[in-house]
Every structure is written in C-alpha cells, then in structure tokens.
Symmetry: C3
Subunit: 329 residues, 3 copies
C-alpha cells in the first residue's frame, strides 16, 4: 500500500498540517518512526517523542498543543487512537487470512466444524465438539470432548478448553475424584489468549458469553460464567462457580473467590482479590481483599507512615501519663 | 440410565419426600435443573433456587428446613454433596474410558509405558520416561527425558513435566546456565492440571508424592517436594527447593519462597505469600507476607480506618500540647 | 565418569580434607548424598545435613567451621556453589546434545533455520520466522509468523511466542479488534521457560534483549521491552508497552502496569505490583503498590499491631478528654 497524507485525512475525516503529499507505506510506534511510516500520538506520556520522530505522518488529537515545530506531517483528528485502529483494521482486512483445517490437526470424527474455520497444526478437537463459522483456532489448542465453540471465535496457541474442573472429595486415604461431566460453551466473537485454561463444568456448562475477551494464562474454573463483552487481562484467576457480569473490566493477576457474583460493569484493579458479591452495577474494586479504590489508595498512602504512627502513639501515651501524674500531684 | 427417586434413595440410604417414582436420566446444577434431572442442595447460598428448580429430584441435607413447598421430589441424606459425588462416580464408571497410546503421540523408544495407559495425540514422552499402569496423559503434555510417572496418574493438556529448573550463575557478561541434571518423580494417584509446570531438579529429584492434586497453571520449581494428598488451587507458585508437607491445602495464586519447609496440614489462603518455615502442623496462613488469619482479618478491618487514625493522632498531639501549655502556665 | 577427590580439587583449585582417593561418579543434593556422589554445602540452612550425609565428597566454603567430624571427604573452596556449577557444566558438556529438526515439527517453508538448531516434535514455526544458530526449541513451542529468534536461544515446552497482543477498542455492541501487526524479537542467549507467553507488538517489535532469562508461565504483553541479562522468576506479568532495563531481577508472581519504564539493575520482590516509573538504577521495590523494602517491612511489622493501635487511640482520646475536663473544672 502507499497513500498520501491527504488521502488518509480525507478517509478518516481529519485535517492536514504540513505536506499533503507525504507518503506512507507502513505503521510504526512514534519512538520508532521512520520515513514512509504513519504513527499516532494519543498517550500524553509520549508527547516528547513527536519532536524527534522520523515518521512521515502523525495522527494527533485536535486538542494537543505542540511547543515546537515538528518535521512530520500532522493529521488532526478528534481521537487519534481510534483513527489509527481504523486504518490498521482496514489494512489488516487486505492481508491474506489463514483458513482451513491443517492436516496436522487432530479432529475427532464426531466433531462438527463450521465454514471458513482455521484450525492450526497440532490442535486437538475432541469428540462431539462443535466449532462455529469463521472461528480461528491457532496451533496447539486442546478442546476436550463435547465443548461448543461459537462463530468468529479466536483461540490462541496452547489454550485448553474443557479440561476437568478441580473437584475432589476427601476420604480416609486420600481423595475421590468428582467426575466433571459438564462442558464448556464459548459463544460468538470471543477471543481467548495463549495458554489460557477454561475448565469444564461438574454438571451443566461453564459459559463464556459473546464478545468476551480473555488475555493469556487466565484460569476459569468449573461452573463459572462470564457475561457479554467482559474483558480480562493476563493471569487472572476465577475459582469455581463464580459468575461475572457483562461489560466488566478485570486487571491482570486479579483473583476471584468461588461461588460469588459480580455485577455488570464492575471494574477490578490488577492483582486484586475479590472475595464477595458486589453490591451493584458499576462498582470499582481494588486491593486484596478488594475495596473501594478511594479508600484503598488513602490507606496505602498512610501505610508508609505506620511505623511513625506507632512511635507517636507510644510518645503520646507516655506524655499523657506524665501530665496526669503532675495534674494529680 | 434411568432411575426412580426410590431406587436412588435405596442405593445411597436416603429418605424420599414426594413422588417415589420421579424419574431421572441426567445431572444438573440446581439453577439449571430440568425435567428428568437430579440435582443437589449443599451450599446454603443456593437454597432459594430449590423453590423454582425444574429438576425432578433434589438431594438435600437432613437438617435443611424449607420455608415453602417445592415441586421437586426430595431425597433427604446426611450429606447431599457426598451423595451426588457418589452417584456421579457410579455413573462415570459406566462411561467408556479413553485408553491406548494415540498414534499421533511421540513416545521415545526408551520410554516404558505401563498397562491400561491413555496417551493422547501430540503428547511427548521423552527418553527413559516411565509411566505407570492406568495413567491418563491427555493431549499436548510434554514429559522431558528421564522423568517417572506413577500409577493412576492424570495429567491434563499442556502440562510440562521436567523442563529445566531456573538456575543461572552470573558472570561478567551475563549468566552461565547451571545444568539441571535431576528428574521429576510423580507418584501414584496424582492429578496435574492443564498447563501446569513441574521443573526437573538440579540434581536428584523434584517429587510430587502420592495423592497430590494440582490445579491448572501452577509452577513447581526445581528441587521442590510436595507431600502426600496435598491440594493446590490454580496459579500457585513454588520457588526452588521448597518442601510442602502432607494433607496441606493451598488457595489459588498463593506463592512460596524458595528453601522453606511447610508442615503437614497447613492451610494457606488464596493469594498469600509464604516466606518462612511454618511452626508446626495444622497452621493457617493468609496474606503477603502470610500471617495468622485472625490477625490478618483484624488488621484488614482497621486498614480502612488508617486515614482517620492518622488524623486523630495529629489532633491528639495538638490538644495534648495545648493542655501541657495551659498546665504549665 | 569417575574422579578422585584429589583430581577434582586440582581441577577447581580446592584443598582436600580427608581421603584424597575418595571416588565420585555422580552429583547429589546434600540430604540425598550416597556413596560415590559429590555434593556441596553453600546455604548455611543446610549445614546440619553435612554430619549425616552419605556423599563421598562435599564441596564446602573455606570459611565454614564445622562442629563435629564428618565422614565425607571435604574439598575446601572459596565458593562451593560456583565450583559445583562449574563441575556440572563440565560434565553436562560431555553429554549428547539434542540437535536437528524433528520430523514431527511443523516448519513453514518460508522459515529460516540456522545451524546446529534443535526443534522438538510438535513445535510450530510459522511463516517467515528466523531462528539463529545453536538454538534449542523444545517440543510444543508455538512461534507465530514473522518472529525472530537469535542464536543460542533456549525455549522450553509450551511457550508461545508472537500471539496477538491484547488490543480491543470498544464500540456500541462490543469490541473492534486492533490488529496486532508487529512481531517478537528474541535476541541471542535468551532462555524462555515452559508455557511462558510473549505477545507480538501492535506495530514494531516486542523485544527480549540478549541474555535475558525468563522462567515458566510468564506473560510479556505487546510492545514490551526487556533489557539485557534481566532475570524474571515464574508467573511474572508485564502489561503492554512497559520497558524493563538491563540486569534487573524480578521475583515470582510480580506484576508491572502498562506504559512504565524500569531502570537498570532494579530489584523487584516476589508478588510486587510496580505501577510507576522507577527513579534510577539499582532501586529495590517490594509490595503492591511497590515501595522501598525498608519502608515495606517496617510497615508490615506494625500491621499486626493495627487493632491494638486503634484501641489505644480510642483510650488516649477518652483519657485526654477526662483530663481536660478535670483541668478546666
């Protein structure tokens, strides 16, 4: 591809500052920009890079005021990040897409595979598994027997869908395994990251509802449910039978106790530990155990002064006792 | 299968309340119960579901008092969870079990595979590996050279047994690798979850003793030892050379420092960080660094009031100084 | 191999105490030593094992004073751990090394594989991937299209290099996927642990610089950069666009927020949460949010006394009020 700044500005509804004929052939991060690249400035932390970038064109928000002239051609837009995403999507759509079932995949005879599906080498699709149209299953994915994958689902390498939930009943000598007889259902438009695990249900279904995005190395235990369009960063863990609502956002390495219910639009900070039901939609939680972020950050700020507080408390006690003695003398 | 409530009650020693001839063909969660399903009520959190469940039969503890009539037939038992587990085990035992070495697995010529073993497609079994009778090794497992797997062991997809321990000695330019020349030994009746990693020892053995149950995405570093029947939830991490006793329970995402010893029957809460030896059997630990749960939860409760305490401390100081001044005046 | 204590002492420049002709054929941990084994004593925690070890030879630091005679022959050296590592390296170098591309690996026709490379069964090497000389790629590794692996790189089983970064832009109905068009670059002498994930960049490169050592189950998000010779323990997570300097050490289960910069030689404790740029080289950080270890441990020590402090504060208030009343009476 090769486009001029003007062509791009016209396409996304932006305004050119600089050379309208500046040409771009590729994308680059602003700090790695080079001749022929288009980049963007969205995070104010990176503003200083714009003065030195060698990129030919920079998408930049209308309201950013620059302190010095820049050599790159600017395209002013209301939201530079959205615009670059749109351009990348447009470009990506022109690239060849992997399709077809690789001959090195293992597909059970009783599995049902939809149209326009990609299944990579070494992926294992068990008995009775259903995979909907347009889904992309990368190499090394394991889908245990009976699970259901919707349409336009993406599953990255190494993910394991439908392994046994973790259920054992203690006996005198050790544990009896509780058979895990349910399945996993993954609805349409879900994306599941590399090496993420979603365990099958003890009975019934572990359900990932449509539009959910799970990052890498996440653990979803048996009987869990994740509501539509909820997004989870890497290494999050959910214990068994927990239900998370729709449109939630969960930061990396956060954890959820079992058998709790999280309402829609809950925001959970990274590394938090959520141990009880939330009170209603839109709650924000951080810390372990997770509490209101305002309370959390205030308490954290005082934390560092704890040793001083402890000493001061001792001093106050001593001085008060002396004063009492004097008063009573 | 199809059984009546009476047949089931007779089998597990329960008492029918309702239609003795109610028929069940499948298992269901109480909130997803439907005609022909048997379910159970064990966790009091779910009691409200019993009034609306469409399940035909519900196993319920003797001591649960219901506030309203229910349409389902009840079977009263001392422990509903144990009974449903027993029924599921009985049913599962009638299902066909995977056996045999899949032709798509890689088995070294020098590996020794026991009887009635299942090894799934794409599983890699290295040189000199031994696998005991009755073990189930799901697809995509990697067992490095020389490791030993006992009898009736289950290893889920993507688990990696025997990769190099993490040992490097710094030199002027970088690091020298410390060869990891030991092995991993997994004893009988162990279950290992999906994508869990157990590293080989530097010398000697990393040992998982019999009956241990490890959930998904766990890290067991080189030279570790886990005692009999200890259970660990997902995403736990053990640093090198740490020894955990028998019959311990470890919550999800907990971590253990290296070179420490944890006594038998220790209970470690989720997300805890255990950094030193425990004092004796049966200890409970929570938090990071992990402490006694009573102390932990009391301190957590006060945490939220820290900013108030800080202000109060300042107020007391000021008032005390004023009082002193007045007193000395 | 079979060597005498004298031969080994001569080779590493140590001094024999005991039988110069004691013979060793293998390595062992000190607590598992047996006849014919050489072991070492480096960690003072393990000193008590030396009196009972059945190992024939023990490497021991010059400055360790023993309280009782020992049956093993000692070799005194300035640094026992370094010496045993050197001996193990020497021995490991004599063992046969895996080489060659296994016929059960999938190698794209457009991939470029260097000399003396090992690629294990079921490993997937995508289009345009480059792998440098002497690298060892164990079974079940997935390397997505376009990634670059340097020389003498080791990648353990189940690692996923180059899966899509986690980028989604919300729209009315769900999310638009932000195409992840960059690659992953892994430089020379890097080691990557089992089931670790390194995501491809949105644009440009996710870079792991030379000599970096990553343990198992680590998450490196899109656009990250890890400086030379930095070492990370298992289950660490880095959010997107974060840059970590050279020669850093990161403890297990630690996490890094996105878009931050960590200076060289930073030390981050296990389970820490680093949420902002560091101030300069050589900083130490622990806790979540991560702070100076001295402050952290002092605050932790006081934490347990928080409930007492809270009560004492209330008592002080009450007594002060009484004293005021008396004073004003």
């Amino acid at each position: 591809m090769e486009f001029t700044a003007k062509q791009i500005a016209d396409f996304i509804g932006g305004r050119v500052e600089g050379d309208e004929n500046a040409k771009v052939r590729t994308f680059a991060k602003i700090e790695e920009g080079k001749e022929g690249a288009i980049t963007f400035l969205s995070n104010p932390k990176y503003t200083h890079f714009i003065y030195d970038t060698k990129a030919s064109v920079v998408l930049i928000n209308d309201d950013v005021e620059l302190e010095k002239p820049v050599s790159a051609t600017l395209i002013r837009v209301p939201n530079a990040y959205e615009c670059v995403a749109k351009l990348m999507q447009m470009y990506a759509a022109t690239l060849p897409k992997k399709t077809g079932v690789d001959p090195l995949a293992f597909i059970s005879k009783t599995a049902e595979i939809g149209k326009d599906v990609y299944i990579g080498p070494f992926t294992y699709v068990g008995d009775g598994v259903k995979i909907g149209d347009g889904s992309m299953i990368y190499p090394h994915v394991t889908i245990y027997d009976g699970c259901q994958i919707g349409k336009n689902v993406t599953i990255h390498a190494g993910a394991v869908i439908g392994a046994d939930g973790f259920g054992f009943a203690p006996n005198q000598e050790g544990y009896d395994k509780i058979p895990q007889m349910g399945i996993v259902v993954i609805e349409d438009n879900v994306e599941i990251g590399a090496n993420t695990c979603v365990d099958r249900s003890t009975m019934g279904q572990t359900i990932i509802h449509k539009g959910v995005k799970l990052d890498n190395l996440i653990q979803v235990a048996h009987n869990c449910e994740i509501g539509e369009n909820t997004v989870m960063s890497a290494q999050v863990g959910m214990a068994g039978s927990t239900k998370i609502g729709a449109w939630c956002m969960v930061g990396g390495q956060a954890g959820f106790s079992g058998h709790i219910t999280i309402a829609d639009k809950t925001f959970v900070g990274a590394q938090s530990g959520v141990i009880s039901n939330t009170k209603g939609n839109g709650e924000q939680l951080i810390g372990a155990p997770a509490i209101d972020p305002k309370v959390f950050f205030k308490a954290q700020a005082v934390m560092k002064r704890l040793p001083d507080m402890y000493r001061e408390l001792g001093a106050l006690r001593k001085e008060l006792e002396e004063l009492k003695k004097e008063h009573n003398a």
